[in-house]
Symmetry: C2
Subunit: 204 residues, 2 copies
């Protein structure tokens, strides 16, 4: 008589399994085992593997989309501070969700139509945010305080620098040696580096 409980258990297990192995690599039996129920329950609550997956993917896409907005949508600060703060907050979000980008990138790649889910949710708001920042960039550039720059290119710089170390950490760790051995310390350094790179990109 505790339906919410098992349903939540399945969702939790499915999230882990799908994030770790992707849609094709995840097995319903494995999800059921991790949730501590028979795999029939999974069909009872979600009909098919596909539907269970869509549920997880939608959640994760919304999380990913909102992360950019909440990181950079911090009004009241002067532009450069707001940028620094945004990079830092976006990076911190990735520390808490290190596997999220790789998961989404893969699932969108293997079925691009899935991206519509996300685009509809955040595209408009991001457009608005970008337009605002572009205006501020332009006015600062007009006053010779920074160099002129396209906000879309700048934001792509930011997310490239922020996300890439997380999706490649298993590979770069052995390559970089001692600098990457201590994971937490390494990511602290990367955050500082990324802010430095972006500030230098736009400062006179």
């Amino acid at each position: 008589m505790k339906p919410k409980d098992t349903e939540a258990e399945i969702l939790k297990a499915a999230e882990q399994e799908f994030m770790l192995r992707g849609f094709d690599g995840a097995k319903t039996a494995s999800i059921a085992r991790a949730a501590g129920v028979t795999h029939a329950m999974l069909h009872y609550y979600f009909r098919t593997k596909e539907q269970l997956f869509e549920r997880i993917l939608t959640d994760k896409m919304n999380l990913m989309g909102r992360s950019v907005l909440t990181a950079f949508g911090n009004p009241g600060l002067p532009l450069l501070e707001r940028l620094k703060d945004g990079i830092s907050r976006h990076f911190d979000f990735l520390v808490e969700n290190p596997d999220l980008p790789r998961f989404i990138i893969n699932e969108v790649f293997s079925r691009p139509e899935r991206y519509e889910i996300m685009r509809k949710g955040v595209s408009r708001i991001i457009d608005k945010l970008m337009q605002n920042v572009q205006q501020e960039l332009d006015s600062m550039a007009a006053q010779d305080e920074i160099v002129p720059v396209d906000v879309r290119m700048l934001m792509l710089d930011v997310v490239s620098l922020n996300i890439f170390p997380f999706i490649t950490y298993p590979m770069i760790k052995p390559l970089l040696g001692d600098i990457a051995a201590d994971r937490e310390r390494f990511f602290e350094q990367r955050k500082a580096e990324n802010i430095e790179v972006i500030m230098r990109r736009i400062k006179k």
Copy 2:
């Protein structure tokens, strides 16, 4: 009769299928169909799906590893020119192999032990290359021509900026609108942007 022929056909088909769908998503029947043979042939030549996959993965990892070396291992130029040239050549390599990084990142993530294949091949040579560049960076910094910088951080900046647009193109294309609509032109702009970012990172 013509053994090389069918074996090569299978390898070609397997490469496409594995690169597109990954190990879990790829099906041996689909590979065989694309190669124009029965799926028994695939086992005849390679015993198992796993062994066929290892063959492809090893090739791709060597390709990926060497790409960094050949791009930046261009002696005779002054450091800044060599860096620009390296970024450009590495980027051009990605234009020719846009799906390669995503494929390798995924397969290494899902089974990190696979990374040993690559590490053994290129790790030493990359270490050497990095040490050389670090020395040049240090001597230029000592003469106040550039700011001091750790080569490992700088190279991670470079590959982050270069690779990320390729692995996320299906996602960023709808987000960036007109700027990304023309794929070729977009990547031209990105290459210029990446060189600009890195130069600004180290210049006084």
